[in-house]
Every structure is written in C-alpha cells, then in structure tokens.
Amino acid sequence: MALTAPPSGVTAPRASRRRASFVKIAPYVFLTPFYVVFLLFIAGPTLFAIYLSLHSWAGLGSFSFVGFDNYTNLFTNDDFHAAAGNTAWYVLGALLIVLPLSLGLAAVLNAHGVRWKGFFRTSFFLPIVLSPVIVALLFNILFDTGTGLVNGVLSSVLGVPPVGWLDTPVWAKVTIVLVLIWRYTGYLMIFFLAGLQNIPRELYEAASLDGAGPFRQFSRITIPMLKPVTAFVVVIVLTGTAQIFEEPFILTNGGPGNASLSITQFIFRAAFQRQEFGLAAAAGVLLFIVVFAISRVIASVFGIGKESQ
C-alpha cells in the first residue's frame, strides 16, 4: 500500500490543536521548577512545622497530638521570654543604630570631594565577607574580661576597671550589637549608596538655587527619595536580625545564662539539644507570624507596592 499524505484539511486543525495545548501548558511547564522548589523547601516544611507545632515529637517514633500545649508552654517558658527580649534588643539595635549609621556613611561617601572612595567602600564592606567563626574568635579575644585587648586599652589609657563584655548580661547584649554594627553597617551602606547614586543631581542643584542648605537638602530630597531603598533595607534588617543566630551562638553561646540567647538559638536548643521538636516548631511558627506581621506593617507604612498600582 502506498503511503499517502493525509489531507491538509485534517493535519492543520490537529497541528493547531497541538500548538494551542502546548501554548496553554507552556507557562506551567516553565513555572514548574519554581513551584517544585517552593513546595519542597518552603511550603512543605512550613506546613510540616505547623503540624509539628501541634504535636510532641522527639525526632524519632510517633507523634502525639498535644493541641496548643507547645504554644502555651512558650508563654510560660522563662528561656523563651529571655530569647524574645534579647531578640527585640538586637532588632532595635540594628534598626536604630546600624541603619542610621549605614545611611550616614553612604551619604558621606556619596558627597563630592571625598577621596579614596573605593578604599573606604571596600573597607566598610569587608566585615560581611569574613567568616563568622573568625569574627567570633576575634571578638572573643578582643572583649574577654581578663585578657581582652579592649579592657587592656580601657584600663591602661583611661584607668577604667575591667568591663565584663561577655560575662555580664547587659554587656553581652551590647557586645553582640557592637558586632552587628561592625559587621552589617558597611553591607547596608552599599544599598543606600546605590539609592543615593540614583537621585538626580538636578534636584540638589535646584534646591541649592532655592537656598536650601545641606541639612534641608538631606531631609527634603535625600530621605524622601530613598524611601523605597529604606523600606527594603528595614525589612531585610528586621527579618535578618529577628533570625539572628551566628553572632550570639559563636560569641557567647547565648550566655551568660540566657542573657544573649536569641529566638533561633532557643529553637536550635529545643530541637537539637533537647529533642523537643514540637516546642521548637511552635517557636518557629510564632517567630514567623510576628516577623510577617511587622513586615506587613512596615510595608504598609512605607507604601511598598502602592506606586506600582
């Protein structure tokens, strides 16, 4: 039997149908990798954490349903209270000290006439690329009460008695905030610098012609024009600092006592030192809810997304 081509009237609709269904499926195919990763590593674990927070589980064996017991335990748990208070300290320290400092540094580096800009930018950025282990070791040696360089200098130059930087509850938190300042100011400065460089020079020139001084220019032009960058930086500082782990873990291990314990460290201890995964999950869920709610409030205050609408 000879092979004959099918009538063109049959082929055309089939090909067009195939093309049409491919066009419909294509977006899903392209989106699939994202959704698989999202579901596997974000949505799945989140749902599992919520499920786990309602159960008691030691990491092996069966789950036993405990309802909201893990959440109520958190509200009566002294360690969790301490961790929440300390984390609030770190967040406030980062928002009220690191943020203004990085903006100020960025403004200085963006000013005309400043020499060695590249050198300063690199110097300020360097701490963020250093390994946290090295940072912790360094700060441990610097801030030790008996043998630290800081106390040595304070005592020999100013005659100040030794300060328990890492030994006393308040100073331990202060030291961790100092590490945050040292480590993140230069990093956040880069965001502000990028924002500053995008502000048209003409605005400053016009303001100058109208008689506005540097302070007025800063408050009336720079700060409003940096609003989107500031909103972004505030949100990443908030979410990052609320989940702070490395600095207190390596520098003080949450101590002395629980004086510098962060919420993520509390979660780590509950899960991986005490095998209380339900309690750890409840703390994680609670942290997520609080950080998410505050982020939404900040987004709303800064009007993030409103311009695009």
Binding site: A20, L60, S62, G146, L166, N253
Partner: protein, 440 residues
C-alpha cells in the same frame, strides 16, 4: 467539540495539587516509622560506617578490625564520618528518623546521650549491649557504664575514663613557693593569698559553663540527677560547691573567663598567669599539649584537694560511648568489633597504647603496659600510679533526658552567683525550679 474540550488543559488548581502532592511525598516518607527486624549478616565481607567526634576512635577501630578480620568470621572494611559531638548526634538522629544511611558504630559524647533517652529513642535506634559487651557489667568501672544506661539497658560502651586531677605548673609552684593544700577550703585560701601577692591563679573556670561546677559536685558526692533520673541538683552539696567557686573567683584563686576552650582560655594559659587547673585526663592532650607545647616538662599531676564534708578523691567529666545501630545488616559484625576492642583486656590495653584513653575495664589496670606508662609532657611522671589509686573511687554520673536543659539552667545560675546577682543557694534553687517547670 473544540480542542480544549478534547484535550482538557491542566487547570491551575490541578497543577498546584499535583505539585503539592509531589512535594509532600518525600516529607511524609521521611516521617515514616523505621523498619525493624533486619537480619544481621553472620560472616563474610562487611563494611562498617563509624561515625564519631574524633579521628582517634576510627583509627583504633580500624586497627582492631584488621586483626579481627584474620581471626573472626568477618572481613571488615572501615569507613568513617567525623564531625563535632553535637553535629554527629544530630546527623545520626536525622538518619534514624529518615531510615537513611545509618552508622554501624556511633560515637555518642556523654552529654549527648540524654538526647537518645527522650521517648526511648535509644531503644528504637540502638542495639541493647547489656549482654554483649565482651565482659560482664561488673568487670567495668560502673562510673563508665551507668552514663549510657536508659530504661535499664546499656546502649553504648565508653571509650575513656576521664579522671579529674590537679594539673600543677611545677616551675611556678617552686618559684612562688605555693604550698600543697589538703582540702578545697585551704586551696581557696592559699589561692587568694598567691593571687594577692603575685597575680597568679590556681585555677580557671568559665563564667557560664557548668563543667567545673559539675566536676566538683560529683567529687563532693552530689549529682545533677539521681539513679532514677529525678532532679537532684537542689542539694546542700550543690550549694557548697557553687559557694566554693564564688569564693575562689572573688579572691582570685580562680580566674573567670568567658570561653575556657577558646581564645581567652588559651591566651591565659600562655601568659603564665595560671599555676594550676583542675581538669580531666583529656586536658593534657587536647588543651595543654595542643596549645602550649613550649610548656612541656613544666606540668605534673596531683590528686584533687578533698572536701572536708566528704565525697570522693576524684571526679570524672566527659567521655564518648560507642553504640551500634539496631536495624542494620552489619549489626552483629559491629558488636563483634566493639566487644573485641572495648570489652577485652587486650583491646583496652591496645586502646590505651594507641590513643592514651584510660581503660574502663578493671583488669586492664593490672597490665604492666598500662601501669608503667610515663608522660614526657608531664616531666616523665608515672601518671598511672596516681590514676590507679583514683579510678576505684570515681563517682558515677546519672543521666536524664533533661540533662541539656539543666546544664543550660546551671550556666545561668553560675553566672548569677559569680556576678553576685544571686546567692549560690538562690541560684541553685532557681535553676532547679526552672528545670522542673520546663521538663514537666
């Protein structure tokens, strides 16, 4: 009929549903209960995965496996995974939960064993070694068996006997004419005087680490938990010991550092400002020799001062017990190797020779190889003569699933007492109450 009807397109809802199901499968699979009753291999080639926190252990097991391959039914190949004590335990627990690649022999640092006591994880994941240690339980020092007991069964065999003694800098003792003290009260008094005159301490403690408190508490005869796992910390012994540390810190007999094992502790060691430490045997190799090789020959061991109110002549702190995974085909081969290496006199003497860890089997202490050992770092001292007198009097450490919780609370209590925010009695009472409330 249009094409969309004949070839129904994937709806968004269907797509998300399918993707969700796909994502949940591995999660749910990972939570599936572990299988049990795996048949154990009886002979032939076998690969043992040894997970531990120190390379010495694996090297030693590998050397024993070589000998055992020639004489026993198994032909061993050793593979290893090494990480720090906490991480290796976490990895192992994750592996047991996921029923993934399991360790054949797992090194469990003593403080980590409490994690296996929660919800009877030890019984679920580890082989019961009670009758498979190579020697009966009473052939070992009970001090080194009890820490790995859960619900009456022994789940690990100890690798070391970390007896606590006084490490003294002989040159500083001579130069500063430091007298020997019989009791801790005298020691603190002498330490205060020496510090006032020369600025040199007779001990170093960390500001929120319960190690030194725990060592002295056990020497005094106190415990964190009793034999049944009940909280026993709120005791006169605990208050006495914490008071001793506070007194020592206040008069300079003890220097307080934020990190004993890190930079501050090490720099203090090298500044010649400390004439003595009270530490277990591993302090010699892991801290002194590693950080201060130039001080070789300047140190010697002496027995601890005693508590006037009673207690032991020594204490113990630290240790790593080796356990065998329960549901693995190589279980019997792993137990054979473990019982040969840790449960026979020959194995324990060999372990002592290769790694320096003190034997836990009583009969191994009679071996001339063990007794005649001299330590060049300690000026050629015949250290085993001292250890041999202390070993039979070593206190026993009782475990509890709340060990980590209490340790954390004690860290806070020690800080509070050292800084004067609480009296030792208040600090201990609060730590006990907080532990009690959180473990309820």
């Amino acid at each position: 009929m249009n094409s969309s009807q004949s070839n129904p397109a994937l709806s968004r809802r269907t797509f998300i549903g399918m993707a969700s199901a796909a994502a949940m499968v591995p999660l749910l699979a990972s939570c599936a209960p572990t299988t049990s009753g795996v048949a154990s291999q009886e002979s032939g080639e076998v690969t043992l995965n040894i997970w531990s926190n120190a390379p010495d252990f694996t090297k030693f097991f590998a050397s024993r496996a070589e000998g055992l391959s020639e004489s026993g039914p198994y032909d061993y190949t050793i593979e290893q995974l090494q990480s720090d004590a906490g991480d290796i335990t976490t990895k192992a627990l994750a592996a047991y939960a996921a029923n993934g690649a399991l360790p054949s022999l797992l090194g469990i640092e003593i403080a980590q064993f409490s994690r296996f006591m929660k919800n009877n994880i030890a019984g679920e994941a580890l082989a019961d070694l009670t009758d498979e240690m190579g020697a009966p339980r009473d052939a070992f020092y009970e001090s080194r068996v009890q820490p790995y007991v859960s619900d009456g069964a022994i789940y690990a065999m100890e690798s070391q006997f970390p007896l606590v003694t006084l490490y003294q800098r002989t040159d500083l003792y001579e130069q500063l004419q430091i007298p020997q003290a019989d009791t801790w009260d005298d020691y603190i008094k002498i330490g205060g005087e020496i510090f006032a005159k020369h600025g040199t301490s007779l001990g170093v403690i960390a500001n929120d680490d319960p190690t030194w408190f725990g060592m002295l508490l056990q020497q005094r005869g106190g415990h964190y938990f009793d034999e049944d796992g009940n909280l026993a910390i709120d005791s006169p012994e605990a208050v006495e010991v914490l008071q001793l540390l506070v007194d020592g810190a206040n008069n300079g007999a003890f220097t307080v550092v934020s990190d004993f094992f890190g930079g501050p502790g090490t720099s203090l060691l090298k500044q010649n400002k400390v004439a003595a430490y009270f530490m277990p045997d591993w302090f010699n190799t892991f801290i002194l020799q590693a950080n201060a090789p130039e001080q070789s020959g300047l140190w010697k061991l002496a027995p601890l001062p005693l508590f006037a109110g009673g207690g032991h002549t020594t204490s113990v702190w630290g240790g790593t017990g080796f356990a065998v995974s329960k549901d693995i085909p190589e279980r019997d081969a792993a137990i054979a190797l473990l019982s040969d290496a840790y449960g026979t006199e020959d194995g324990q003497v060999d372990r002592f020779t290769q790694t320096g860890y003190l034997p836990t089997l009583k009969s191994a202490w009679d071996s001339p190889t063990v007794l005649e050992k001299t330590d060049p770092y300690l000026g050629g001292q015949r250290v085993m003569e001292l250890y041999a007198t202390l070993a039979p009097d070593a206190p026993t450490q009782y475990q509890s699933e709340n060990w980590a919780l209490l340790s954390t609370e004690l860290g806070g209590a020690i800080t509070a007492a050292l800084t004067g925010r609480k009296t030792p009695a208040e600090a201990i009472k609060d730590a006990a109450a907080s532990t009690e409330s959180q473990s309820a």
